[in-house]
Symmetry: none
Subunit: 200 residues, 4 copies
DNA sequence: TATGAATGAGTCTTCATTCAT
DNA sequence: CATGAATGAAGACTCATTCAT
């Protein structure tokens, strides 16, 4: 996963993986037949088992407030990147990218298992007035993921800030939660109209 | 840019680009010396000139309210993807990805040209109490980009929703702006109960 | 033999044979040491035992008329392909082909065991005027084999005839025997002069 | 063609061909894209142009006696192997063998272009009583080819005969023509009865 | 007797790059 | 300015063979 994340699936030679594992590339074929199958196997185990599964539990558990749920989701995603440091990179490269090697599988798995539950929950919270009604349930899920994984993918090579400080995961977590808590809160009255419409 | 976005830089043979352009690959080398330089040149012109430059103007223009600025930035990014349909893909693949072919250049350029101005503006707005003080200026910039480009990169192949509806850019724009307007608003009271942030 | 005939010896992986036999490829090596030896062993048993041996008997048996012998040889060869459906293919591929895996062994075995007896018999029949004197004893043996096995190897995938009929082994047998009986008969008079002789 | 004939198409590495031609294997791909296409190209030119085409002419030319035609076909085939020494081997290996790399193409081409004309000619000659009526037109064509090419493929590595003499193409030609002239001749009366029928 | 694990050598194929023309 | 020809380096995959168990 490290190599796939760092160099992309296409950019990683099986021989390199084999070397890192202390074996020959022929042996990798012996066990996995093909590069794609190696990826599938290891992705299912690592991403499915150690990222999506725990995440899914949050959705299934007790019906918390949407705000609390979102907060926990963000924390869970960020915490997952401690266990799986390659996750953000792999996500942008192989899930978010067109033709990404994990895209089809992940989107389908994520969508079926997670998003529908989450969407339903969001929709009902919106109807109850507990959630900003202008948010879109599906995009909200993407937003959670994008707000966390994309910056993590980027700032891991981020140059020093002007002041010299380095960005931390804690900073990101606070930022995202702050943004979300504000953004999720239901609109007070009708005063705020969704400012800028699009032309096209 | 289309080919780079669809197949990734590494996955696109120079010969393919040459063919699409109606020339030989030897000629591409004649003008650009190397694949990387071709990429740099065309990225500078296309991304620098048609995406970052217009975006930079927004920051330099009149000192708007932060909320209004964020809204305009989001609209501008999404509008840019009409002119540059390959932008979201290229961004996730080659900017957001470790080792992405555009990463170094883009991050540096973006950082120098945009982020510092933007950060300064955000910081001062926070001090004036016009902006949620818990947000992080640098991450806020990333958030704007991630909230728009990442979903655009993903949902262009998104399967039909359960209801059968297809997601549109307009949906995304409304969603992101709604999230941001809420998230940017300064905290009203002490607890995080703020039913509806209000701008001062 | 089936796999060797269908895909050629070189084109058949030992693992495939092992799988078909319900064992591991390591075990095939345990018993046969090497692919070539496996082939030799199985060819000796199958081709030697079930094809060449019965064929040899015909030559050793009572001294029939050459015509009757040839007829019986043809019938025997064609009948053998009922028991050993892979025979024609294996013959063209691995015996008739230069570098064929069975070539050396088969040619030597066939030559020693069969051809000399057969040649002697043919020669003496020619001297007695019972056989077309222009035939060549060694080539006559090859002709018998080629006239039967080559068409069988080919027409097993032969496309439908124009009329839609499918060729059968019976058709072939009748054809070959008709050709041979005519060809073997001693020249009646002087009418048919072997038109164009070649020098080289 | 030499390498393909000696070692089979599957057994010949492109690198070997390239070496023989004094170029790199990458260059072979530059011109032919793939091994199969190289084979197709070269087979079309060599077999199609230098073997099948001249052969086809014989069939199209003046309506000779069947015997004369068969004689000329045999001579032409044998003569072709002087120009194309690899022909017999390539024929047994890649045309006659199941899964042979040239099989589909050759069978189709040969069948369409040659066999139907030839069959029609044979049939009509049979009806006119000029040709042994028990022969099968399609098999007769195969017989001509098999009687010549198969022995040529085999005896090019044939060990010395007992007497020490080496077989020559001239010997083969005389033998085949003798066999054919006898075999083609119409049955005199009813004397010769197609001896051994098949059981199955 | 049997096999799972392992591998070295080799195959086809791709591609950025070079260069003579 | 432009290109056809050419190639070295690399990559995925295959397979006969070995060996410890």
């Amino acid at each position: 996963m490290e190599l796939f994340a760092e160099q992309g699936v296409a950019g990683t030679a099986l021989a390199e993986i084999a070397k890192r594992a202390g074996v020959t590339s022929a042996m990798v074929h012996y066990y996995f037949q093909t590069k794609q199958q190696l990826l599938n196997a290891v992705a299912k185990e690592k991403i499915g088992g150690e990222f999506l599964a725990p995440l899914g539990k949050l959705f299934s558990e007790g019906r918390a407030e949407p705000q609390a749920l979102a907060t926990r989701v963000v924390c869970e995603i960020i915490a997952a990147t401690d266990r799986l440091p390659w996750l953000p990179q792999l996500w942008v490269r192989e899930v978010a990218s067109k033709g990404g090697a994990l895209r089809r599988g992940m989107i389908q798995r994520a969508r079926l298992e997670q998003i529908e539950k989450f969407s339903a929950f969001v929709s009902s919270a919106q109807k109850e007035g507990k959630l900003n009604a202008e948010l879109h349930p599906v995009f909200l899920f993407m937003s959670l993921v994008a707000l966390t994984l994309a910056p993590l993918a980027i700032f891991n090579e981020w140059p020093r800030l002007p002041g010299g400080a380095q960005l931390t995961k804690g900073d990101l977590e606070r930022h995202v939660i702050a943004l979300l808590l504000g953004g999720l809160a239901p609109k007070a009255g009708s005063k705020q109209r969704s400012a800028g419409g699009r032309k096209k």
